[in-house]
Amino acid sequence: MFEVVLTTERTMMTDHHGKEFIGFMATGPAIGVPEQLWLWACCPKPKVDKLGRPLIAPYGLRKIEAKLQDTGYNAAIVDPDHLGKHLDTMKVLLLSHHDYFAYGPPSSEWWLITGQEPVNRRSFIKLMESPVVREAKKRGVRIIAGGPAAWQWLWELAAWEKWGIDTIVDGEGERVVVDLVEKALRGEELPKYVYVSPREAPSIEEIPTIKGASVNGLVEIMRGCPRGCRFCSVTLRPLRFIPIEKILQEIEVNLRAGIRNVVLHSEDVLLYGADGVKPRPEPLIKLHQEVMKKIPGTIAWAHASLSAVKYSEENYKLISTIMGMLSEKQEMLGVEVGIETGSVNLAKKIMPAKALPYRAEEWPEVVKDAFAIMHDNHVVPAATLILGLPEETPDDVLKTAELIDDLKSYRSLIVPMLFVPMGALKNMEKFRRESLTREHIEVMKACLRHDLYWARDIIAKFYFKGLPYAPLRFFLQSFISYVERKTANLDALIEDFLKEKTEKKTAATSLQKVAGVSRKKQNVVPNNLLEILSLFFIGVFWILG
């Protein structure tokens, strides 16, 4: 039984059926099916031992668990359904999440366009209000919450107080967690809020090796990112490369738990061992060689930048070399990439270094060239766009639509994300009505057309090949056909929605009349339209997963 228990809620404590991208379903609301069925589809419960310790757990929690165990604490990750087994011994409860309240992308986007709370938020609230957590608090257990979404607590002060969270830790936790847990165990006063500055980020030596398996074999190969994009907090952190020996040790931990595949995690995998923003072939080739030797399964990349894809191939033929190496075991490699915008003006404002070593003015060309390279080498990107950034103009959005059109020949899935300012969270419905423009919807339509085409191709050529997968393949192809049918009438729905918005703005009729008529229409036409779109984009992640 453990004194220090680490946990999180169900949408995090799961392996998403071994398909990492299915995790995106957990960031949306249950659309068209009961929530339990939705959770079953995307967040199955992991196997646990007699003490409720899960076979797999989120990587961030594994790091903190390892730090505490290395320091000698009686600490372990426990599945949320098994917390009750430790009520008598638990003195500190540590929580982590990548999106506690669904304020991050893409949760806030699904929330915005469907008008329904995402399941990750609902599941976290359910955990915090569960009898076992309330009982723990009643018994004096100190609760410390951290992880990448710690910032969200500053927008949920009432919940912070109501649930009796003793400390929120925002930033990399390895350096501070031991001191906080020690204070908590001694019954000393804890700071209510801790922000770990980039200066205080742990060194490589201070980052521990995980002791238990991570979700889907994810292992970190570096921390930080040098690009400094304005919409991303990771870029504030110093860049650190994890030595290959340490990466292999963590893969060994996962292998012992039966995890055959590896997700190499970094904000930009191609910058592993790089010279600034210029990828270097030696460390990347060595990394892939060593990992391949170690695992029986496949490799995936978490994220890569498009400029690094272009630079590494044009200068060193690196993408084709790596894919040649991997081709023994896998036909394709999935990766998340960020297009964000097709507008040079907006790129210069919000992500001036994203194109480096190329100029920001070359961004659309960088995107196109990188997509062509990935297409030729069977790297399948799930690309994101950001719509609605604060300084965005209609012309910027049209430039993005044009870029998507230019990408139509390249095998990829493109998902638009809506930038949701924090101030909008208190009135999502108003923001939803006022923020979506004709240009945004044009971009969404372009993405939909692109994805419908390439989803069929990806399923046929790469995913779920062979007879055993025939039923699943049939299900997915039917799903795509269903979306095609449902969106056949999309233009008429969009016109209705935009007309509605215009009428709403200019209506001279009484407030009561406007409210009565418009609300009714908005809950019918746009919701159908937007739910179809969101269902499809969530489905896109499912397919890629």
Binding site: W151, L154, W155, L157, W160, E161, D170, E189, P191, K192, Y193, V194, Y195, V196, S197, P198, R199, E200, L236
Partner: protein, 88 residues
């Protein structure tokens, strides 16, 4: 890392601009020290939220906030009292 400790009192009636200006002066004069803040007697979690948000948006320094008064106001602490005598 070097840390500078600040005790804030009487915040509930204080003008936010005055509080923020005082904070900025304190941070600048102790640069590059990380900051420890005691929200002494009043202010509560609402004030914590505002301060953390303000500091996080304007400075890249480490921060600890306690919702209490320090055990003693000895050396190493700076007290900023925005109470009724401050004229705010």
């Amino acid at each position: 890392m070097n840390r500078a400790t600040l005790v804030l009192k009487g915040l509930h009636n204080a003008d936010p601009k005055t509080v923020y200006k005082s904070l900025m002066r304190f941070i600048a004069s102790n640069h590059p020290a990380d900051l420890v803040i005691y929200l002494c007697d009043e202010g509560g979690i609402e004030m914590l939220g505002k301060l953390a948000y303000f500091i996080g948006n304007n400075f890249s320094i480490g921060l600890e906030i306690y919702l209490s008064c320090p055990e003693s106001l000895g050396a190493g602490y700076e007290l900023l009292d925005f109470g009724k005598n401050s004229g705010l």
